[in-house]
């Protein structure tokens, strides 16, 4: 038996001396890393093993190309002259955004993993080594993400701005990556210290969601730091810029390549270099307490009293016909409320759905007045509410406790399609609708009641888009039966397609508005499409055998 040798570990081996200096048991750390990387290559689908196609290999590495595509977004900033403080701050804003998002969404679970505590910590291995192994494990993947993301800009930058530029870029990328990993870890360390048990898990969930939202807002703040006058972009220093890390990383380029040696530029540069390094030292001091506090994740002593879900009951009665369907609906509603991993992956999406429609209005307010805006077509930005649909519908397949899914096979379920149809109903009623109503009401205040038919169109498009997304993504009969390990599957391309559909809906909406009474015709067409689409997707009145046959036929396609 030979275990594969990993190239990434050979790279880690270069820092052998450094690990020893920090008091890490180097051999054991490498051993743990090798095992972890081996396991990452072997994620096997779910309880219904025989149903899924087995996919070997590291699924995460296979999904890296998407970061390469994100990297394309950075390229334009390399071609808008030599205003480095502006273009590199924006670039690093994007880089930090992507890295932070990836860290929060994909690697928090690795950092906070307590499952292997019983395996590792009962062996003669000290805690520091375990935590460092964890951090390095994350850093290996983060380097892949970063690499895929900045490789192209780095080469283009070399060609466009010369080797010195690329050198600064490379150095800063490494610093930025360390900053993201270590600061996130420190944040969790802080949270772990003050809370415990289930409450801790909830808080961590909220912290993750807040971070994601904070990143979006932070990006807006970053742009405010620059003044756009016609074609010129000028930078003028204010003290609060010290709080915006992307500007730290923009400064060295300005300082070295443009020779701008103002005091604040030097200060920014110092921050860019020193903050990650200080953070690493602080982290290495606090690491043992991290593992100790992780134990709190396991303790849950509070029993909660069952809450009353009047609203859920209302929707269940309104939207579901059979008892079975209502049962599924309540189950879905509970899963959406309680399932942490689901919340973690879905809620940032929801937050963006709320923020974006307002963000664009605010941006517009800088140029013209609210009265001016209320006359126009800006309310169509409410289509941004719909960007949460593909991601969330996609997530419905997954659950942290996917192993419980055997019950769907064991129980005498009459209409299997009800499981997913109610999950989508629950999504629309419990997650989409509240957000849509909040944004919609605010928009009616801004744009007056004239937009009511348009709002109707947007809502129906959302239902139709949910159906289309479900049909495209469908590869499982029951929701909540797959491990989140597979959420990284190459479904990303399909997800992007599904998001782009919003553009199509928007286009048709525009055309409909251009024609007299077009919007009402479109509204009726959408209602018909939704009713037929729903019937087709979730066959209702057929006998059980027929349903089985069609679902088999669909599965074989």
């Amino acid at each position: 038996m030979t275990m594969r040798e990993f190239k990434s570990l050979k790279f880690v081996a270069l820092f052998k001396g450094l690990f020893r200096r920090f008091g890490v048991d180097y051999e054991v750390m490498m051993l743990i890393l090798r095992i972890k990387l081996t396991m990452d290559e072997r994620r096997v689908p779910t309880v219904f093993n025989e149903m899924g196609k087995k996919k070997e290999g590291n699924q995460f590495l296979k999904s890296l190309w998407i970061y390469g595509i994100y990297g394309l977004l950075l390229l334009p900033f390399l071609f808008i002259g030599e205003n480095y403080i502006f273009q590199m701050s924006i670039m690093f804003g994007m880089i930090l955004f992507i890295l932070m998002t990836s860290m929060i969404a994909d690697f928090t679970s690795v950092l906070l993993d307590v499952r292997d505590k019983n395996v590792l910590q009962t062996k003669p291995v000290d805690k520091k080594t375990i935590t460092v192994a964890k951090t390095i494990h994350i850093l290996i993947y983060m380097s892949f993400v970063t690499g895929a993301f900045v490789a192209l800009p780095l080469f283009v930058g070399l060609y466009r701005h010369g080797p010195l530029f690329s050198l600064i870029f490379l150095g800063e990328i490494i610093l930025a990556m360390l900053l993201v990993v270590v600061l996130t870890s420190l944040l969790y360390l802080f949270v772990l210290r003050y809370f415990d048990g289930e409450r801790l898990k909830d808080i961590i969930n909220y912290v993750q969601i807040l971070l994601s939202v904070g990143l979006i807002v932070g990006y807006q703040v970053l742009i405010r730091a620059f003044e756009f006058t016609n074609i010129d972009i000028t930078y003028s220093f204010s003290w609060w810029h010290f709080l915006i890390p992307p500007i730290w990383y923009g400064a060295p380029f300005e300082m070295i390549l443009n020779g701008n040696t103002a005091g604040y530029m030097i200060a920014f540069t110092a921050l860019a270099i020193l903050v990650p390094i200080v953070a690493i030292f602080v982290y290495s001091r606090l690491m043992p307490s991290f593992e100790r506090n992780l134990e709190k994740m396991l303790s849950d002593t509070k029993s909660r009293k069952p809450g009353r879900h009047l609203l859920d009951e209302f929707w269940a009665k309104l939207l579901c016909r059979s008892k079975e369907e209502r049962g599924f609906f309540r189950f879905s509603a509970l899963m959406m409320k309680k399932e942490r991993e689901f919340k973690l992956k879905a809620f940032p999406n929801l937050a963006m759905s709320v923020i974006f429609p307002f963000l664009f209005i605010f941006n517009e307010l800088r140029i013209r007045s609210l009265a001016d805006i209320s006359e126009g077509n800006m309310f169509l930005f409410i289509y941004f509410c719909n960007i949460m649909i593909p991601g969330t519908i996609f997530m419905l397949k997954f659950s942290g406790s996917y192993k419980g899914g055997w019950i769907f096979r064991a129980a005498p379920i009459e209409r299997e399609s009800a499981a997913f149809s109610t999950a989508i109903k629950a999504f629309l009623a419990k997650l989409y609708l509240p957000i849509f109503v909040v944004v919609g009401v605010a928009y009616i205040f801004i744009f007056s009641a004239r937009i009511l038919p348009d709002l109707g169109v947007v809502f129906l498009s959302a239902i139709l888009q949910s159906l289309i997304t479900y049909r495209v993504m469908k590869d499982e009969d029951f929701p909540y039966t797959r491990s989140f390990e597979f959420a990284q599957d190459p479904g990303t391309a399909r997800m992007i397609m599904m998001t782009l559909i919003i553009g199509a809906f928007l286009g048709v909406h525009f055309i409909a508005r251009a024609i007299d009474y077009g919007i009402y015709v479109y509204l009726v067409l959408l209602i018909v499409a939704v009713v037929i689409g729903w019937r087709k997707t979730f066959p209702e009145n057929w006998k059980a055998e027929d349903v089985k046959e069609t679902s088999k036929a669909e599965a074989s396609i």
Binding site: M1, I35, R42, V44, K117, Q121, K123, P124, R292
Partner: protein
Amino acid sequence: MDSAKESILSIQDLTMSYGGKQVLNGINLEVSKGQIIGYIGPNGAGKSTTVKIMLGLIEDYKGKVVIFGQDISNGDPSYKRRIGYVPENAETYDNLTAMEYLVFIGELYGLDQAFAQGKAESLLQQFDLIDVRHARLSSFSKGMKQKVLIISSLLHNPDLLFWDEPLSGLDANSMMVIQEILSQLAKEGKTIFYSSHIMDLVEKISNRIVLLVNGKVVADGSFEELQEQSEEGSLSGIFNQLTGFTEHREKAAHFVSVVRGDHDDAGV
């Protein structure tokens, strides 16, 4: 007990609380070499907590725990080199094969890779698992996994064994083998600390029984000594008596009547 014997493990005034709830209420225990200790008690009595403390999984306990003469709160994990542990929930790295898992664990205990591999192979052979040694643990039944865990706790020939529910999932034949292994290991001078809910077995293989109720030791001694203290003939009888549980028959009768539907108003 022979007090001149070498002390392996010593627990003094051990208390532990989780979020305001007292789990351990002052446990005192002296264990000397070669003892097989059956650590029993009702669910939630604090058995696993004690074992986790001794393995350094839980640190914010109060009291003193000394293993092989070392106070384990000093943060040095090296005492674990002489301990073998079987966790209660059969937790493993399921994506690894049995062989990979065993070699990994062996290496964590500081064994040479080739040595760990050879030993794991011979031990798997004894448990008739040699044919599945390159299959992933995720495909193993609970009993098979349990055997792998038992092997993983013995690879480095430890002096002290902590086995939390070692017999769960095993069939009757395997249980007999494990039982025999336990007594032979004890004869070789190993000290064994295990917990189980199977009273007949604890009665048979332990030479000392420690009964824990609500985080307190309520009985400690050989089976014969416990028998003298109480009037019950079997360990389960003693267990029921000391945990104050007598109404099992009524409980069962009531349970079955609910299943039958006497109290059921849901209707189908």
